[in-house]
Symmetry: C2
Subunit: 160 residues, 2 copies
């Protein structure tokens, strides 16, 4: 049994991009959707800069990383979205949740989600939301155990 | 049969907030979720200012309005979200879609969604997404006719 060491959390910097894209690609759907090359396609750096440009301290749009022994072992995108509906409620939105296949079974996904919820609460969000592909049945059970409810249809349209 | 006049579209200003909240409350779910009083609760103004603070020209988080004869007859929140997944794809997200019950049958909802898609394309988005409550079956058929696919579960957790 491998020894487990402490997990810490921090926001991603530009230098973390290759590790993040490696994680995004380490997934049944991600392996066809991502392009993990060396060097990385410029599109990822441009997207990171665009995320930075729309981030403020109060309303971040950032990647949150789970780090173990200086390795990035998990990530998710956390976006705080101000809006008018429900009496002007602030929402937190999660996207791109990944845990390295090398560290499964250590509840790193759960710890990452829980940490993102703590951040969201501290920023004043009263709702956390995300969409998950209907074919990811195991993921749905995982999220329902954490307290999420599949109350909505997640509708998408590609524009290209 | 009432005569119909041209629909124009523009982004909301702070002065439009009472009309927008009236629309948000003019809805089966919205009537219990919103607080349409005169004056409006400060929370709506604070939320509008927060939306402004995270909007850039390239990546807006704004309410788009449908206007007919100087009346605001429809609205939706349009948020452009930069992210790393799917090769750094830019997403557009819709929320709070409402059409005044006084102008139903003029395809104003369809025109509003179509206009928001045009804006999203022009800003470089390659995906438009939103979540819709599973009980809103008529809305699902409407969105599927427009080309959206209910491919995802929309998961939510309240934090209060």
């Amino acid at each position: 049994m491998p020894t487990t060491t402490e997990i810490t959390f921090r926001y991603a910097t530009r230098e973390d991009l290759p590790s993040i894209v490696a994680l995004l690609a380490d997934d049944e759907k991600g392996k066809t959707r991502e392009e993990f090359t060396d060097p990385l396609p410029d599109a990822y750096y441009q997207a990171f800069d665009a995320m930075q440009s729309q981030s403020t301290e109060a309303l971040p749009n950032k990647y949150l990383l789970a780090v173990q022994d200086a390795d990035i072992v998990g990530c998710l995108q956390l976006t705080l979205i101000a809006g008018l509906s429900r009496r002007g409620q602030l929402r937190a939105q999660i996207e791109g949740v990944r845990v390295s296949s090398k560290v499964r079974g250590q509840k790193i996904g759960e710890k990452l989600i829980t940490h993102s919820i703590s951040i969201s609460k501290s920023l004043g969000a009263v709702l956390v939301q995300f969409t998950t592909d209907k074919t990811r049945k195991d993921a749905h059970r995982f999220y329902e155990r954490l307290g999420f409810e599949a109350s909505h249809e997640g509708m998408k349209m590609r524009l290209d």
